[in-house]
Symmetry: C2
Subunit: 201 residues, 2 copies
């Protein structure tokens, strides 16, 4: 019996629990990405992480809570958007927002989990509510608060709607010519729209 | 044995086959709306229509083909868009397009099957390809041809992306304040964007 196996008999030391937790979370991200919310089970996540289902419940609670934690990790880069887009001249806000979000979508590493999140949120009510909490509270509301305009939240959402709509038609449904269009051409057309929603009349 | 039952033994007369075909199509629309593309089976459609699976194959072919026919029926109202939106002054194209699509989304009768179509297209590649063929070829390409501008197809898709993005965030993910916002407020903000994509510089 190795030391590592022996150790599992007692209460795991703090470092090992952080490690196990991360391993479960990585497995959860993989499972949700591959199968979507509905077809993913706590049992499947546990199996992929090589642990008992009870341990998944111990660290995260319900499937909804595991999803929220996995989503939080997927969204971590996107949640930096408010800092990035308001750094620089006000008239560049629309372009920076567009570049920032398309940067995440164009990168296959960040696109795959994002695709899974969008698919899950569109098809499952629990996933949608997690998406609402995260995106609304942590991303769009922060963008809105920087705008300091009446209707700021609605403005942020309409700007996001243009970006999300393009992302869905380009990366998910793959409608042509949009799917193969040069990103710079898209940004040139989309940036003024986002700018208009955020800071226009 | 009634006359109607006796008749089924031979080749059905033309009127009866149109009737059966419609019944299968209505059942297919119901099944796809309730379950989405992936969870719907030809067997389930046949059962709901009260016919044998072989008859579904006889009239429509594969599940993909049944889906395409059902989608065609769901999209029939939306496919009138090009006629409606180009009837009237050119500067009102954006508003008419927005009003037309939101009219379909706001009506629960037309919204339910549309929701199913969007969910299916976002989660299933076969459904997405049917969606592409229909929406691209029959709706957006016709809008584009009326524009007569370079990049007309891309313009039509970016306009549609704004409308689809708002629809998904309002009706599917139900992000607030967008989900409860007054439709006129949304149209006032969205119409100029759609107009800009379609006819702007």
């Amino acid at each position: 019996m190795t030391g590592a196996t022996a150790r599992r008999r007692g209460r795991p030391p703090r470092a090992e629990s952080a490690d196990t937790r991360d391993r479960i979370l990585a497995a959860a991200r993989e499972e949700f990405s591959e199968r979507g919310y509905e077809k993913t089970s706590v049992r499947g996540i546990a199996k992929a992480a090589g642990v008992d289902s009870a341990l998944v419940h111990h660290y995260f609670g319900t499937k909804e809570q595991v999803f929220q934690e996995a989503l939080q990790a997927v969204f971590a880069p996107a949640l930096k958007a408010p800092d990035v887009i308001f750094e620089g001249p006000a008239e560049g806000v629309g372009e920076r927002f567009a570049r920032f979000l398309f940067g995440i979508w164009e990168n296959p590493v960040t696109r795959t989990p994002l695709l899974a999140v969008v698919r899950s949120a569109v098809t499952n009510e629990v996933a949608a509510s997690v998406f609402r909490r995260l995106v609304a509270a942590q991303l769009l509301r922060r963008v809105a608060s920087q705008l300091g305009l009446p209707d700021a939240e609605l403005r942020a959402e309409l700007a996001a709607a243009q970006l999300v709509g393009v992302a869905i038609m380009r990366y998910v449904i793959k409608l042509e010519p949009l799917a193969s269009a040069d990103l710079e051409v898209i940004i040139r057309r989309i940036a003024p729209v986002v700018q208009g929603h955020l800071t226009g009349p």
